[in-house]
């Protein structure tokens, strides 16, 4: 089975570094970006299977990154990460084309399941 390549985007470096390790242990190839601009750059350069994207980020937020990806017609499933306060943003993201969303703090198994579902769909 092909190892899935995931781009994890969150401005919390302590979070992304840990998640990179955990997803790595689950046989994913994970890269991390800490800003929206960095994420867009990585997406344009790399061949990712799934984008795990935090909604609230300084500068370009998760929804803007997703909109830009859609604008570039990149067929990339997006899973949004959000806190309780921005659940409405996540729901808005679903309407705008996100594959799924998860509330922080996340359950890693749920995230893995949602990643696989997103790739399969």
């Amino acid at each position: 089975m092909k190892q899935l390549k995931i781009l994890l985007v969150d401005d919390e470096e302590d979070l992304t570094s840990t998640m990179v390790e955990r997803l790595g242990l689950r046989d994913f190839q994970v890269e991390a970006a800490t800003s929206g601009i960095d994420a867009l750059k990585r997406v344009s350069e790399g061949d990712f299977d799934v984008l795990v994207l935090d909604v609230k980020m300084p500068g370009i937020g998760g929804l803007q990154v997703m909109a830009e990806i859609k604008r570039q017609h990149l067929d990339l499933p997006v899973i949004l990460l959000t806190g309780h306060g921005s659940a409405a943003d996540a729901e808005r993201g679903m309407k705008e084309g996100a594959s799924d969303y998860l509330m922080k703090p996340i359950d890693i198994d749920t995230l893995v399941e949602k990643i696989r579902n997103a790739v399969q769909s």
Partner: protein, 572 residues
């Protein structure tokens, strides 16, 4: 945007004022003002009315006293005029009817004297004196024939004026009497002679006695030198010098006010008796003049005093009741406003709580992921645990816990300051603490925050909890007004040694001109169902209550500046 009008401030709590003076002094001044104004309005007409009545009564009573005295003096004057005129006319008649020779006949003269005594009364004797002053004939109880009067003043006067009425004197008889003499020309020899009669002064006393005067009145005759011509009740016996000054001449009856021994007013009426040296005098003793007046004055003063006491008691009672009611109403008002302010602050905390929950989720997520990683390493990875890796994980967890802790402490620190308290603190840290609640928002929305607080800014003495509320409300509005990528400037400076000013400027949408005048009014809101309309109203009330001022300047499309002027130390 919540908003409050400068013309209608809402003090958050009057009871928060300095209990040593401000609060109680406010109601004491209100009570004093109420008492003074009510007393002035109600007592002034009463005093004026009483004063006018006082003088009208006095005037009326004075007229009441003067009129009968004046009338008595006038009637008596006419009586005296008639009495003397009658005697003079009788003498003139005798002198004309009888020839000089007949008059010189003592027997005939005695018969004439008898006729006059019977007809007129008062005559004591009758004599005829020739032009050389020799007593030619005499009828009466004394032997006066042969006496010569040429050198006497009365003889000269009767020669010149044709008539003479003398002062009362005792003379040879040692009884008070006076003389009436008339001049008569002798047609036969062209010379003249004088018919002279003596009249007993007792007739004058009899007349005065017949007036049946009250003890308070004194009626008597004096001559032009002030010598009593009749006895006086209070001023001496006949021919004593009267202690009062001789009143000035007047051809009419006059009334004068005199002063008694203690300065109390008395009434003097007098009339000069024509063709005589007599002055008729009526004196009303001051004590009796004042008797009626003192009674009326006493009644008026009693009425005034009782009315004033009654009115003052009612004013004191009503003012106290009124101020108590106002104080109770203020107390209820203060409690309501405090409850509103409390609710507003709790609502602010509630709004912040959403942000805080989101902000706290990130460190929680980190803790969660690190705990999960630890579990993964134990359960999935067979490799031995690396010490450095574990330390890194622990540090991440600790950093996240510290983040959570600082967020909750900040929130608790804001929420716990609900009760009024005046303390000294620095404005810079206060503003920084409030700004920290907007930290993530500025980050996510790329809002530039410029914070300019001079290092030497003096500490202020104020209510920290209430100022948190003030700046949180203003900053909330500022951050809500700016668009993504906007700017909020906060600057603080000391205006002088007494005041500091805090300016919060945003480059947001601005406030329309038609809303500017209403933004501090209670329940004015442009947020629709999302705003209570109390935020800026409460802000205005708090600033006023803290002896500060708040102003707003705004231009649509350019932004808004709120300026809060605060005292470095509150007066109360």
């Amino acid at each position: 945007m919540n908003t409050d009008s400068p013309s209608k401030p809402i003090p958050v709590s009057r009871s928060e004022r300095d209990p040593k003076g401000g609060f109680h002094a406010h109601y004491r001044r209100l009570w004093l003002y109420s008492v003074c104004v009510t007393a002035f309005v109600s007592l002034t007409p009463l005093v004026i009315f009483t004063w006018v009545n006082f003088y009208q009564y006095r005037k009326a009573l004075r007229e009441e006293v003067i009129h009968p005295i004046s009338r008595l003096a006038s009637i008596s004057r006419r009586f005296m005029d008639d009495f003397l005129e009658e005697r003079r006319a009788a003498l003139t008649y005798v002198a004309r009817r009888e020839s000089y020779e007949d008059l010189c006949d003592r027997e005939k003269l005695s018969r004439t004297l008898m006729d006059m005594k019977e007809s007129f009364g008062g005559f004591v004797d009758l004599g005829v004196i020739d032009s050389d002053g020799n007593q030619r004939s005499y009828a009466g109880p004394y032997e006066l024939e042969g006496l010569n009067y040429k050198e006497q003043d009365w003889f000269e006067e009767v020669c010149v004026r044709g008539i003479h009425v003398s002062d009362v004197f005792r003379g040879y008889r040692n009884l008070p009497h006076f003389v009436v003499a008339v001049r008569q020309h002798d047609i036969e020899n062209g010379n003249f002679y004088i018919v002279r009669a003596t009249i007993d002064a007792e007739v004058l006393n009899s007349y005065i006695s017949s007036l049946d005067l009250k003890p308070s009145s004194d009626v008597f005759l004096i001559n032009r030198k002030g010598v009593l011509q009749t006895a006086s009740r209070h001023n001496g016996a006949v021919l004593d010098q009267c202690p009062m000054a001789v009143p000035p001449f007047s051809s009419r009856t006059e009334v004068l006010e005199t002063a008694g021994e203690k300065g109390e007013p008395g009434i003097l009426a007098y009339a000069y008796i024509e063709h005589s040296p007599f002055i008729f005098v009526v004196l009303k003793h001051p004590e009796h003049v004042m008797e009626s007046w003192l009674l009326v004055r006493s009644n008026i003063l009693w009425f005034l005093g009782t009315s004033i006491v009654l009115i003052v008691v009612v004013i004191l009672w009503s003012s106290t009741a009124l101020v108590n009611r106002i104080r109770d109403a203020d107390h209820r008002h203060d409690n309501t406003l405090h409850a509103i302010a409390y609710t507003n602050k709790m609502a602010s905390i509630g709004r912040m709580a959403a942000g805080v929950a989101h902000e706290i989720n990130n460190p929680l997520a980190i803790i969660n992921e690190n705990a999960g990683l630890l579990k993964d390493l134990v359960s999935i990875d067979d490799k031995p645990l690396e010490r450095d890796r574990l330390l890194r994980m622990a540090e991440k967890v600790i950093r996240s816990v510290v983040r959570c802790s600082s967020i909750t402490h900040r929130l608790l620190g804001f929420a716990k300051r609900m009760d009024p308290a005046i303390e000294r603190f620095a404005l810079g840290p206060l503003l920084e603490e409030i700004l920290s609640f907007f930290g993530k928002e500025t980050e996510y929305r790329r809002i530039a925050v410029n914070f300019d607080v001079p290092e030497d800014l003096p500490m202020v003495e104020s209510d920290l909890g209430q100022l948190q509320q003030v700046f949180l409300n203003i900053l909330s509005n500022a951050f809500a007004a700016v668009a993504e990528g906007g700017q909020v400037d906060i600057s603080v400076e000391a205006v002088d040694e007494n005041m500091v000013t805090v300016r919060i400027h945003d480059n947001g949408v601005g406030i329309p001109e038609e809303h500017i005048d209403h933004i501090f009014e209670p329940f004015f809101s442009t947020k629709g169902e999302y705003g209570t309309g109390l935020g800026l109203s409460i802000t205005y009330g708090i600033v006023e209550n803290l002896e500060g001022r708040i102003a707003v300047q705004s231009t649509v499309g350019e932004g808004t500046t709120f300026t809060v002027l605060l005292p470095i130390a509150m007066r109360r």
